[in-house]
C-alpha cells in the first residue's frame, strides 16, 4: 500500500502571457494554439526583459540569466509539501528525482534538490518526463516494503523555457516552468491512498518532443496534442472501466495541451467539467511537474473525493493513469 501525505508545488515569477508570446513571434501564428489549449499564461525562469530583447535564441545565455533553476524550484516544492504535512524535513530518507530540462546533467536533479534541502540521504533520478509521477509511484508500489524508508519524497523539477527559442516554433505556446513534490509513505497511512498505477511506454521512440543538449527544445505541437488527447482519454476510460468508478463523484487530473478536448472527453464519460483539474491554463505544461502541481493546487478537493484518476500521456511516448482514494 502507498499513501501520499502531502503535495507541494513551486513556480518562477515571470509570467508569459499569450499577448507577450504573440509579440515575440509577430502576432497571429500562435492564436490557434491558444484557442485550443486555453493556456492563458505560462511561468518562466527567464526574465521578461531578457525574453523581449533576445527571444532566448541562444539558449546558453538563457541558462546564465535564469532567475531560478529546476533545483531551486524543486527545493521550494518539497518545502511546500512538508509545510502542508505533519512530517519534518529530516524524516525524509530517500528522494526520487525527475527532470528532463535540468541545467546540470550531473549531479542528478534529485541529488541537487536533496543537497539544497540539506539532506544527507540516498537520492537519484528515475526519469519519467510527463509520466514521472506515475513512474515513481509504480516503482515504489513494486518494491519490497522492508526496502522502503518510512517517509520519502518524489520530486519533478523542470525549466523547459530556458531551452526554448521564442522566435519560432510551438514549444513556447505550450511549455512552462515549475516543480512539484509529494511526500510518500508505505507504512504510515495518511492522506491519499494510491490504489493503482499504470505507467506504459510505447516502444517506438517518438520525435514529438526532443530536448537536445545544445539545441532549443523541439516540440511537434499538433502531433503531441493529438497523442496526448487520444491516449489520456484512452487511459481515463480504462481506469473507469477497470474500477467501475462513479463519474459524478470521481475527480480527474490531467495535463493535456488541449483543455477543450480534455473536458469533452470527460463529459463523454459522464464526468462534469468541474471535476477536471489541471494547472495548464495558468502555468503552461511543466512536463513531469504538471501532475504534481495540479495535485498540490487542488489538494483540498482531491483529499475529500472518493476517487481521483490522474491520467497522462506525453513525451517518451508514455501514457497511463494513477487511481487515488480520498480520506473516508
Amino acid at each position: 500500500m502507498l499513501w501520499i501525505h502531502a503535495a507541494g508545488a513551486a513556480y518562477p515569477s515571470t509570467i508569459i502571457t499569450n499577448r507577450f508570446l504573440e509579440d515575440l513571434q509577430g502576432g497571429a501564428p500562435m492564436r490557434g494554439k491558444f484557442d485550443n489549449s486555453h493556456i492563458e499564461s505560462r511561468r518562466s525562469v527567464l526574465p521578461a526583459d531578457y525574453l523581449r530583447l533576445t527571444k532566448n535564441q541562444d539558449i546558453r545565455i538563457g541558462q546564465m540569466v535564469a532567475a531560478a533553476t529546476p533545483t531551486s524550484l524543486g527545493v521550494q516544492a518539497v518545502q511546500h509539501a512538508i509545510g502542508r504535512s505533519n512530517i519534518s524535513l529530516e524524516d525524509i530518507a530517500l528522494i526520487l528525482g525527475d527532470s528532463t530540462s535540468q541545467l546540470q546533467l550531473i549531479p542528478t536533479e534529485g541529488q541537487r534538490i536533496a543537497g539544497g534541502l540539506g539532506l544527507r540521504i540516498p537520492a537519484y533520478d528515475i526519469v519519467g518526463a510527463t509520466g514521472a509521477f506515475a513512474l515513481h509511484l509504480q516503482n515504489v508500489l513494486h518494491w519490497k516494503p522492508a526496502r522502503l524508508p518510512k517517509i520519502f519524497a518524489s520530486v519533478s523539477a523542470n525549466a523547459p523555457t530556458a531551452f526554448i527559442d521564442y522566435s519560432q516554433g510551438d514549444a513556447g505556446a505550450y511549455l512552462g516552468d515549475g516543480a512539484g513534490a509529494v511526500i510518500l509513505s508505505a507504512s504510515i497511512p495518511q492522506g491519499l491512498t494510491v490504489r493503482e498505477v499504470k505507467y506504459r511506454l510505447n516502444s517506438k521512440v517518438s520525435k514529438m518532443v526532443e530536448s537536445d543538449l545544445s539545441e532549443p527544445i523541439r516540440v511537434d505541437g499538433s502531433t503531441l496534442e493529438k497523442y496526448m488527447h487520444e491516449r489520456s482519454f484512452a487511459c481515463l476510460r480504462e481506469a473507469f472501466e477497470a474500477h467501475t468508478l462513479d463519474p459524478k463523484t470521481t475527480k480527474v487530473i490531467g495535463c493535456e495541451f488541449n483543455l477543450a478536448n480534455a473536458i469533452k472527453g470527460c463529459e463523454s464519460l459522464g464526468i462534469p467539467a468541474e471535476n477536471y483539474f489541471t494547472t495548464g491554463p495558468t502555468t503552461g505544461h511543466c512536463i513531469g511537474s504538471s501532475i504534481y502541481g495540479a495535485l498540490a493546487e487542488h489538494w483540498d478537493v482531491i483529499i475529500k473525493a472518493p476517487h481521483t484518476v490522474i491520467t497522462f500521456a506525453g513525451a517518451g511516448p508514455c501514457e497511463g493513469y494513477v487511481l487515488l482514494e480520498g480520506v473516508k
Binding site: Q111, A123, I126, L213, G316
Partner: protein, 328 residues
Amino acid sequence: MWILGLGHAHPSTVITNKFLEELDTGTSCAWIEEKIGILERVSTLPLDYIRDTRNQDPRMAREVALGSPTDLGTTAAKMALERAGVTPKDIGMVICNSCNPDLTVPTEASRIAERLGVESLAYDVVTACPAFALHADYLANFREDHLPDFVLCVTTAALTQTVNYNDRTDGAIWGDAAAAWVVSPRVQGPLAIVDTHFQADPVRCAAVVVERHAHFHQDGRAVRDFSVRQTVRLIKRLEDQYHLDWNKDVFVGHQANRTMLEQITKNREIPGSNHWHNVSYLGNQAAAGAPATISQNWDRLKAGTRLTVAVVGAGLSWGSVLMEVQEK
C-alpha cells in the same frame, strides 16, 4: 539475482600522455603517471579537433564526435545480450545511467532500447559513476514477481566531450565508454549477486559537476579524499560481513585513478593479481569503468571466486556489489 552477461564498448581514438604534454598546458607525462597513473585514455573526439580547439566550446564536441553515448551503449548492450544468450525480445525492462546523453528527451534508455529492437519499459535511472551499484541495489528493491525474467542495465558516458583541454588535469582524467549487463531475478547465470549497497551525501553534490553547456569541473582534492575513504569503508564492510579472502577473491574499484586504487588495495592488502582494473589505458570511464573491467575479464571468471565492486562518484554517491562466480 544473477548477472547473465556483461558487455563493454570503447571508442578507438587514443589520447596518450605525450599528446597531452604536447598541448602545452603545463602537464607532463611524468606528472600524469605519478599523480593519477593513467597512461592512455580513449575518446569519441578526433585528435585534430582536440589539438586545434582544446574543446573550448563543448557544444562543438558533439558535432565532430566520431560516436555518441547512445552508440557506445548499444554496442555494449549487444555484447551483454550475446553473452547472456538472450535476444532483444526477451528483455522485459531497460534501465540506463547516462552522464551526458545527447538528448534528455527521449531518454537514453528508450533510444538504446529502440536501436536494439527491445519493446519494453525503458527509462533512465541515474547517479553517474556509482551506477553499477545503484542499478543492482535498485533492482534488489523490487519484489521478484514484479521484475521480468531479463532486465538490461546500461551505463554510458562520453565525458571527454565535456573536457576543457586547456586544463592540465581534466584532460588527463576522462575516457569514454559504455557497459551493459543482463540481470535476472530467477534465471541463474555466471554471477550471483550476494550483496548490494547504495548511499549518498547530496550536501556535497557540487563537488563534481557535468554542465549541460559548459565544461566539466570538480573539487579534485575533496573528491579524491572522499573516494579513497569511502571505497575503503565499502570494502571493510564486506570483509567483515562475508570474510573475504583476497588470496582468491577479486576487487574492482571505480576506475578513476590508478594511483588512488593502489592506495586502496595497499590499505586492504589486496594483491595485484586479484585487483582488476583498466583505468591505466582507458581513463576514467565514469560508471562504465568497473563493469567494463569485469566484462573484459569475462573469460577469466573462476567458479567460487567472489567479486567485490566498490564504486564512488558524483552526487556524492557510493555503493558496492558483491558477486559470486557460479559453476558453469
